[in-house]
Amino acid sequence: MAEKSKMVEKESLIAENVNVFYGDNHVIKNVSIVMPENSITAFIGPSGCGKSTFLRLYNRMNDYIEGFRKDGSIIFNGKEIYSKDIQLEELRKKIGMVFQKPNPFPKTVYENIVYGLRIQGVKDKALLDEVVESTLKKVFLWGEVKDQLKKSALALSGGQQQRLCIARTLAVEPSILLMDEPTSALDPISTAKLEELVFELKKTLTVVIVTHNMQQAARISDKTAFFYMGELKEFSPTKQMFTNPKEEITQNYITGRFG
């Protein structure tokens, strides 16, 4: 138990022997993985390998899918996140998520950022202003939008919208940030900005990113997990995986010999 409470102090995320089924379809097969803290972990693998499904397990986004069933455990801060007494809103505050396509609310830039805080009942205008400025600065967007805070978020460019969505997630101070192909709809310049941002975020956050862009995984992540047909085939330091992978199947995938 002493060991367990030590783990609780750190904001750890541990999956053990996880299986996922969609009806009869066994999509995640006995996966165990511990997310290293304050680091970036990339999930790679061919389409349908289960990487996005696995990512969505961490903040229970699969719960809405018909026929979803899971066994095994996912422990966050020492607590099973699938236990009945878990408050989903609280969980998703601590484990935020950014999606493939930017999804700002049809509100002003300002209201997008403070949305989560308002739900929590924060009314202090000075505090809200401060959070807006600090989170927009964190995502390198403040300089670009400080004069457009009252304009619709939908008027921003795709890259700006994606960074705004990250800022919205950061405003409620998560400790884990899940990203599901966050740059697949962005141009190369916006992609580069977002990668720089992710790199900065790992100083305070644990980032897990699903990407189809293997060069992106190689550029930004500390560790890489390779999924294939629902199994975790290899979980290695990224530098090793892209220079000398342990498994032949990983090598075949990352060198484009299948997938």
Binding site: M214, A218, F242, T243, N244, T255
Partner: protein
């Protein structure tokens, strides 16, 4: 075969052509040295342009593959090894050229005796075989064959030490010919260097096949 594999196949073909050309240049340099063959030496000098052109072409193609295909894992190691092996082969080509120039300028009688005394031709023959064996290891992707080169390069180093000692002895007996003896020492060093190049290439073959970096290491544990 996909586009990337086609590029790699073409790169390998160019590289093999360069290697065979350099091996031939070294063999010709050996024959020119053994027979004081000035015509053959001239041919070596003329062929050097082809060596240089192929080296540049391979280097450019390696750069293109990195820029266009972002190779990883064994593909990345292969390209990195190719860049180093390419540069090493060009240096081996330079050695053949230098030896050809030596033959063109040499004082036959003086050097013939010294070449016999130092067993320079045996050392050169051994060095040419090493280059052929390295090529074979590359063509067959055989790391064991590549490893066998390390010991044989040590043998060449030993032959070189003995040869240099013989030259030093000769200098003591005939100090007024010091300039010629220094030229001979330089020739011996070049022959020895061509063995070192085969060893460096063997290290790169092992690097891309097994992801092991053997430079600056003792090879005893690797045998």
């Amino acid at each position: 075969m996909n586009h990337f594999e086609t590029e790699i196949t073409e790169l390998k073909a160019d590289f093999t052509t360069l290697w065979e050309l350099v091996a031939k240049q070294l063999r010709n340099a050996l024959r020119a040295l053994a027979n004081n063959d000035r015509a053959l030496s001239q041919t070596i000098l003329e062929e050097e342009n082809r060596v240089n052109a192929l080296e540049l072409k391979i280097e450019r193609n390696c750069e293109n593959i990195i820029a266009l295909y972002n190779p990883v894992a064994i593909d990345l190691r292969f390209i990195l090894a190719m860049i180093k092996m390419n540069s090493n082969l060009e240096r081996a080509g330079d050695i053949a050229t230098r030896i050809a120039k030596f033959v063109l300028k040499a004082d036959d009688a003086f050097f013939n005796e010294l070449i016999n005394k130092t067993h320079a031709l045996s050392m050169f023959e051994e060095s040419c075989e090493l280059m052929d064996d390295a090529l074979d290891a590359f063509k067959t992707s055989d790391a064991q064959k590549a490893r066998a080169i390390f010991k044989r390069d040590e043998y060449i180093n030993d032959l070189n030490k003995t040869a240099l000692n013989a030259v030093v002895e000769s200098i003591k007996n005939n100090p007024q010919e010091i300039e010629k003896y220094l030229k001979m020492m330089s020739l011996l060093r070049r022959i020895e260097k061509s063995g070192d190049i085969s060893k460096a290439i063997a290290e790169e073959i092992i690097f891309f096949l097994e992801a092991k970096v053997l430079r600056h290491k003792q090879y005893k544990n690797e045998q």
